[in-house]
Symmetry: C2
Subunit: 389 residues, 2 copies
């Protein structure tokens, strides 16, 4: 049976890798829906190649331009949140790949869960902001959420042969980002260009900055808590600069199982799409002898407080993880606009969290309210910092 696939965020890094996997396995997968934010040139190429029946873009104006360009094709073109939901709930889709960056992924992903779609989840913000709501809805609708993040995919692959009651802890590996060996002082004046220079993974800008602050790993800790229904106390982070061991699971007998491989997102994407089978992937094979050495160290939470903030947020619970995420999104955007410095990111996140009065995160309204509040608070702080320059 050919699986029909919608991709939310098809022009991004995960989206294009997903299309690579699909292109190599047209006997197994068919694209039915795509969405993009702004890159309508690339989206048009994808439309012509993969022939989805429906697409959506962020802005109505872009939708108009795209309609004009694609008038020789039989295709529905939508825009905005409504358009995203149209694609994510498309009746014919079996799997929805949630690969939008940031909090914008939440609403269409939740809609897909409610529509009973299997979710291949790359948008960790969905779980960070609304883990309780999303997992409850997934349970209710018998929906399987398959991780696409390499770390969570590693754990998921290990646990295909394990029992959660035998697990003592999961260990998420982290490259440590470009500033692993920088002093706190040097890190303060890190430039945007330096922060975007990830040592291993070639990813989108937002997640690359998050890797430099270790916020990305913090978000992954929260995501893991919800995806695997485990206590945050069972989740450890281990710095592993080569990013060859993608994560590990320690069992009650001291045995540790790990998923390992060259850093290539096509592996976890393919696993999510073809689970429980594995696909033939033509790619560079792991050669540990030529890599020679793998190294490990504990994360320095003082130097990278965003990781500590994430642990704090999920332990506090309620709307705090959403606030962590939204404040971080606002701060990272401001850093990418070169309005603030690199270490202002952690400052803004910490201060916004401190001001937050936690609410329960069992309704989407509460979550979106906290999201809005956090963005506004963060924006105030960003303006204050700008004013000082």
């Amino acid at each position: 049976m050919i699986k029909k696939i919608s991709i939310l965020g098809s022009t991004g890094s995960i989206g294009t890798s997903t299309l690579d996997v699909i292109a190599a396995h047209t006997d197994k997968f068919k694209v039915v829906g795509l969405t993009a934010c702004e890159n309508i040139g690339k989206l048009e190429e994808q439309i012509r190649r993969y022939k989805p029946s429906i697409v959506s873009v962020a802005k109505e104006k872009s939708a108009g331009i795209l309609k004009d360009r694609c008038k020789d094709l039989k295709i529905e073109i939508h825009s905005g949140v409504e358009g995203l939901i149209c694609v994510s709930t498309l009746p014919e889709a079996d799997i929805v790949v949630s690969a939008i960056t940031g909090s914008a992924g939440l609403i269409p992903t939740l809609a897909a869960v409610k529509a009973g779609k299997t979710i291949a989840l790359a948008n960790k913000e969905t779980m960070v902001m609304a883990g309780e709501i999303v997992t409850k809805e997934a349970d209710k609708n018998g929906v399987r959420i398959l991780p696409v993040d390499s770390e969570h995919s590693a754990i998921f692959q290990v646990m295909h042969g394990g029992r959660w009651e035998d697990v003592d802890r999961v260990i998420l590996t982290a490259s440590g980002g470009p500033f692993l060996k920088w002093s706190a002082e040097e890190k303060k004046s890190a430039t945007l260009k330096e922060a975007l220079r990830h040592p291993v993974w070639n990813m989108g800008a937002k997640v690359t900055i998050d890797s430099a602050t270790l916020m990305n790993k913090g978000l992954e800790v929260i995501e893991a808590k919800w995806l695997f229904n485990i206590s945050v106390n069972q989740i450890n982070v281990l710095i592993h600069p080569q990013s060859i061991i993608h994560s590990l699971v320690e069992f009650r007998d001291g045995s540790v199982m790990a998923q390992i491989g060259v850093p290539d997102m096509r592996v976890p994407i393919a696993y999510a799409l073809s689970y429980p089978e594995r696909l033939d992937l033509l790619m560079a094979r792991l050669d540990l002898a030529s890599i020679g050495m793998l190294t490990f160290e504990n994360p320095d939470m003082k130097k990278f407080p965003c990781l500590a903030y994430a642990y704090h947020a999920i332990k506090e619970g309620g709307t705090m993880p959403a606030v962590l995420n939204s404040a971080n999104e606002a701060a990272v955007r401001a850093f990418m606009q070169e309005r603030i410095g690199f270490s202002d990111i952690e400052k803004i996140v910490g201060e916004t969290m401190e001001k937050h009065n936690i609410m329960r995160a069992d309704t989407l309204d509460n979550v979106l309210h906290a999201d809005k509040w956090a963005r506004e608070e963060a924006e105030k702080e960003i303006s204050r910092i700008e004013g000082k320059h």
Copy 2:
């Protein structure tokens, strides 16, 4: 249900570790039979502690002494190959732990297979000498052979969640032994004491010498071929001096799964005894951050020809692996008696193999005939070398 366990070779390294595991889980396991070669003092202690109903020792004379010492106990005491078989086929036993060193393990293990016992296999020689016969008998009798070697246990643990049709190759890790960094010239004059100084594992003398020549890894390649029913071309060896990654399996999608942990034989032993469950084991937990670094390199088959001989033997097939093993046993024994030098071991194995006319290895007679022939040939060469000194 309490599993009843017989241990062949209970006073050796694997045997005592097995008893450690059992002692910590008396709600799950009960010892019913034990065998030892010569160490009747230790065996008596084990008898008094674990209260088996039957034991056996190598020599009739030792059995007599033991009977005298244990006359206050209700226990059957046997000797010789017949005694070994009595213990390995004991009707009440569910699992037979085959932990005798060397080719002496073959006959009682095969008897246990024929008697329908679940086998926890540490005696790799059983598979090296008679893999074809043993796997055929296991199939016929619906017997499960569970690996105890840490490498094979690692693969077995990984494959609990995998499908063999998805496997591209298995990668057996090897510490490289004490002579990994020695030149060929230095290695030639290695002493017995130096060869017995294993960098990681604390094992019996024979397997420690085999680790120094890499013959141990060669035997494991052959064992893996039979245990997992895979082509020898799918089996790679990777030098990994820290022995933390116990082995790896590469799947068709490039994903590599590994079992990792502190080097402690109780983990694979416990897994074999409790499979498919895992036991709580109180032991040091893996701390990769404090280990800091794992290294890898390809094996140098020129410097360690025994590994190449093993690949050659299993590719040739028939009685050649038995000859490889038996010549090696004779040579290692002579080295341990300081009758020959360290690099005479590889020389004797190579020369014996060269002289061998391969027979089919589908009858025990053929295997035992090849075994006897190889020992005699090796012994001739050993005497020649002694004569030269």
